[in-house]
Amino acid sequence: MNTDKTSLTFARIHVLAIATLFGLVGITTQAQAKTDVPTALPPSPLFGALSFSQQMLRFEEFAVNPLPAPDVTTEKSLPVPFGCDDGSNSSAMDDFLGKPLWPAPTRLSNVTLPNPWADMISDCIFTTITGVIEGRPPGEAFSHQRWTELGPQVYFETATGGARKNTGLRDEDQSHAYAVGEFGPTISGQENETGLYNRVGGPLDPPGTTNGIEVRFHPKMPIQQSNSLWTFEDGTFPPKLLPVRYGVSTLMRHYNGLPINVSANNGFGEHTLTTHEHNGHQPGESDGYAGAYFFPGQYYDNRWPLQLAGYDSININASDPRASTPCSPGETLMFNGVEKTCDPVTGTINIRGDWHEIMSTHWFHDHMIDATAQNVYKGSVAMMNYYSGIDRGKEGFRCEYDDPDNVNLCLPSGTALDWGNRDYDIQLLIADKAWDIGGQLDFVPLNTNGFLGDRMTVNWLYDPYFDVRARQYRFRILDGSVSRFFKIAIVREFNDTSSGDFPGPTGSNKSYSRIPFHLIANDGNIMEHSVLFPNAQSNDLPIMGVAERHDIIIDFSQFPVGTKLYMVNTLTFDNGRGPKDIIPLAAILSGAFTPMIDGNDWSEDPAVGKFLEFRVQAYSGTDLSMNPADYEVGKKMMIPLVEFTDAELAAAKHRTFKFGRGGGNNSDGNPIPWTISTDGGEKRTSDLNVVSAAPETMGGGVEIWHLKNGGGGWAHPVHIHFEEGQYLSRGDTVFGVDVNRTPPQWEIGARKDIYRLSDLGRELGIPDSSMNIDVAIRFREFAGTYVEHCHNTQHEDTAMLLRWDNEHPGQTVRMPTPRPGWNGVTYDSTTELATIKSGHLAAAASFVVPNQLTADLNWDGRVNLSDFSIFRSMFGKPGLWSGNINEDAVVNLRDFGLFRREFGKGNGLAPALLNPLP
């Protein structure tokens, strides 16, 4: 530490001298930045840290517990900060969070108790307030919907707070308790084998605990100050994971433990919070509405029912075993007031709803109006795994590959626990960051193009390595950036120049080859079919926009122990507008593309290159996970797509949202701010008092949303809250005419919540880039106020966001607009666009429903003889083969009848593009 300080001082003096001598020269030769990365900041120093010299952190689980009995009344109060610039008293926080929930959650927001920090707040803001303990807006508007029926069974408490050292508070609450599988000191059944993930921080850290883990990007880099980085779980690393089970309604009590003074933030971040469970089928009051934020000292109860979409209309007697939740033998859970016991044979309890809607990989993050980018960048991000009968996180247990009557897909996970094993199921939160010369996280809020960092982090660490067993792994990859998209190549390294397809740098004696892997889930939703990469449409993982998730399976057993593999980002940016180009993998690996610091700027985008290293370790266990190749197109199905009948699509309500620039009364082409034009109407900036669309929870249900990019070289990853959609087409507007085509394989069979609109693909022929996307969406079960926005969060924060309300049929009163303050939330009236009920009539009139082809078994957009030969090959087989069109027990003549009906038909779209890249 001392040496660091000395050398820093020396460097300063040294540099000052140079500055004095050459300062003028420096100023006059300051060239136009080649690349504005990091955005409006100088390059981030590394403090001598080398790439791949620290172990990647695994996510730490939140402590989830059953709700305390109603007679438990141990009062507790969020520890009051020492001063106006301090967050919650962190030494008292562990004690506070260790006590059971109090007060009990209530249907209406709890406004009977004061803000526990009221005295301190009054002193700090020079106004006497009493406040209220819960920040959820009061009254019926934001009351928990269907509370009696879907009230919480379990809860977790978390406080957003400033960075601090982990004390190991949650060690015992980890499902593995650092005792079993790869998390244990030894692996049960292989007592001579050390658990690979027992030591959280690295091989030299103490075993089986997060105690002592500091908040920093690398051990050589400075520890983050408490106001530089704010995280869920009271400011601690590792990043946090919430494991949940379908049907088990979960309460998130979220405390705001941030400083009362908004300026105590090291330059960015706003201390009011609202948490969005990304893509959750959650009621509006628990969706993290951008305008329903809460204040330091308060809590906000999000209640997530975790029910399958279709709960009210499909499988309502819970008879379909594929709609189920995992459990332990003897366990009982409450469903609609009825106690159900875990089936001792299947290890599941059936639940209501449509099993085609099962979701898997989610995340939650702050959604503060105008400040989402800064707050998420600053640490308000956690991931969330949904476990179901199909995706239960236990391999080798009643696997579908053994018997098609079994529902468990047996994705790579582990075997020690009844559900939720994470031995071989890994979260990868990828994000670009920047820090100042002191090593503290840095950001410039005053930009609208978008913000780019110059350093890649995985699970918050700079360029880490990760030990893997020589077996199959599932990776749940999330793009957690503000504005950056990724296109990730996965390569193995050879220790010679001839074995690999791509030579390493001259003299390195290395070469590299792409490895095969399977994509199994898109945006956290398990797809109908796995997609093998490389393939004819893409060599590498598809582009990931901000907030997109890709779950992949890599089989490390194909490599010798000791092999190193890398994830390599190939997508380059100059500024936050959108991706600029794909750098050929060969140029990156050979060193021909090498970002250098050129004066105050990077010569090239330094986020391009290797950012994660895998090191293959010996595996002596038995890999019981499924073979993803069995589920490729033309073979078995994992989760077939949700069905939209032709009649539903023909009767659907249409809405058009055009994401562009220019606003108010401005003529087209007028710049900034970001705007959205709804249903052909005027371009509007975000205005939370205005409802732009109002679908209804029942009745019509299906809507077709046309998402369009207004152009100008900008990329917009559009996110619609509450319901995921299925692509009808991708397309571009050419001379005013929409030309639609078949999306690529990984989008045809997917359910999405991020719709990436970008024209990067025009020149490159990238099949999943286009300016228009048509999606079909269904709105069910819950009402409330939601938003739709660009997930380039700097675009979102500068007005590319609109409010839409899901309304009950016949609802006459618009939801009021909350206006939060220290003393609680008041309401404004709400206004609306004229088209919120009609939708876009012109789009409806001109829309041609693409033919839906359930018999297009090879996904080429036509039902022809090649589909027939696939069909014939699976005829008579039991289980969900793609030829099992009616999804009954076996591929039979009934399916053939359905097949024959579509024979010869096309979907009416242009074929998908093939990627001509090397």
């Binding site: 009254g139 005053l446 009236s829 709400t830």
Partner: protein, 334 residues
């Protein structure tokens, strides 16, 4: 080869920062080292330095405009005037409003002063001019500079709401529901302390707004800044009865291309310009269907008002936004 090797030692970055100081070396709210302290001149000829005098320690609302701007600026200025009215005494005390010209050659202090008087702008809202390169620097630092075009009319119609002390910087357009902007300026940017003692209002006390059609929607969002329906003149004439008063063809064209009619010296257009303080009717870029919806709404409203006993009609305009009026009317109709 390790990726880090070919990068840099920390001191390179330090050099960079010290030499060019793009941004504060240590993360902190954007302050003196971020914003240029360039001199600007207000409508009274007084010199104000951008950092020290205009924004330092203040909650500010800043927009960029130019007085010869034909279409968008007058409406923008009029909208801001509404907001200023709603802010009341807070302007010049808790909130500082600035309009900075992007056409300083033409917009001298005297021109700005006349413009300010024309729009009956109250005290506490200053109009600023200066050197174009200084103004461009300010725009760039506020991320209000459009690198894609340098036409004057391309200037950003956003305005910046900020608190220099806390480092909060938000963007809005003047066309948002004015209450939302006022709440940002008087609550969020004041650490929510100015209005903290406000009492809570429950959902049941909130009334739904009547469902509005396209015509009324357009009238509320585009016209009410300068006009009323039956509550007297504002910046422009009271529009009650305008549909019967004017030839339909003339009115349609006036809504479609007022600037052309003014250029052609249409006698009625010129008369209106003279009558209303030389504030031209702006081109609202309305589609023909919007114009017919708007005319239909104004006609219906005329019928409705004529059929309503005088005592039941709202009081004359009281410097409040129509939207607020509507809300209050709805609430009090209980």
């Amino acid at each position: 080869m390790n990726r880090t090797d070919r990068y840099t030692a920390p001191w390179v970055a330090i050099t960079a920062v010290l030499l060019w100081g793009m941004h504060s070396a240590i993360a902190a709210p954007a302050g003196a080292d971020y914003f240029p302290n360039v001199p600007l001149v207000n409508q009274d000829g007084e010199t104000l330095h951008f950092y020290d005098d205009v924004i330092k320690g203040k909650v500010v609302a800043i927009n960029f405009m130019f007085t010869s701007c034909g279409d968008i600026c007058p409406l923008e200025t009029a909208k801001l005037r509404d907001i200023q009215t709603m802010l009341g005494d807070h302007v010049g005390k808790n909130v500082f409003m600035y309009s900075i010209t992007v056409d300083p050659d033409r917009d001298t202090p005297a021109v700005l002063k006349a413009y300010r008087e024309k729009f009956k702008v109250g005290p506490g809202w200053q109009f600023l001019t200066g050197k174009i390169e200084d103004i461009d620097r300010i725009r760039k630092k506020l991320a209000m500079y459009n690198e894609d075009g340098d036409e004057l009319s391309d200037h950003s119609i956003n305005f910046v709401l900020g608190n220099e002390k806390t480092g909060q910087w938000l963007k809005r357009t003047p066309f948002d529901v004015p209450e939302a902007i006022v709440s940002v300026l008087l609550e969020r940017l004041q650490t929510h302390s100015l209005m903290a003692s406000n009492s809570r209002q429950s959902y049941t006390e909130v009334r739904a707004l009547p469902s509005v059609g396209n015509g009324k929607n357009l009238f509320l969002s585009r016209c009410t800044t300068c006009h009323t329906m039956g509550q007297g003149d504002k910046l422009g004439p009271d529009l009650l009865g305008v549909v019967s008063r004017r030839d339909r063809q003339w009115l349609t064209r006036w809504l479609k291309e007022p600037e052309v009619m003014l250029k052609e010296k249409d006698p009625l257009a010129i008369a209106l310009l003279d009558q209303y303080n030389n504030i031209p009717m702006p081109n609202l870029k309305l589609k023909s269907t919007d114009i017919s919806d708007l005319i239909e709404y104004m006609q219906e409203e005329e019928r409705r008002v004529n059929a309503t006993p005088k005592s039941l009609l709202p009081q004359p305009y009281k410097l409040q936004s129509i939207i607020k009026n509507t809300a209050e009317t709805t609430a009090s109709s209980e």
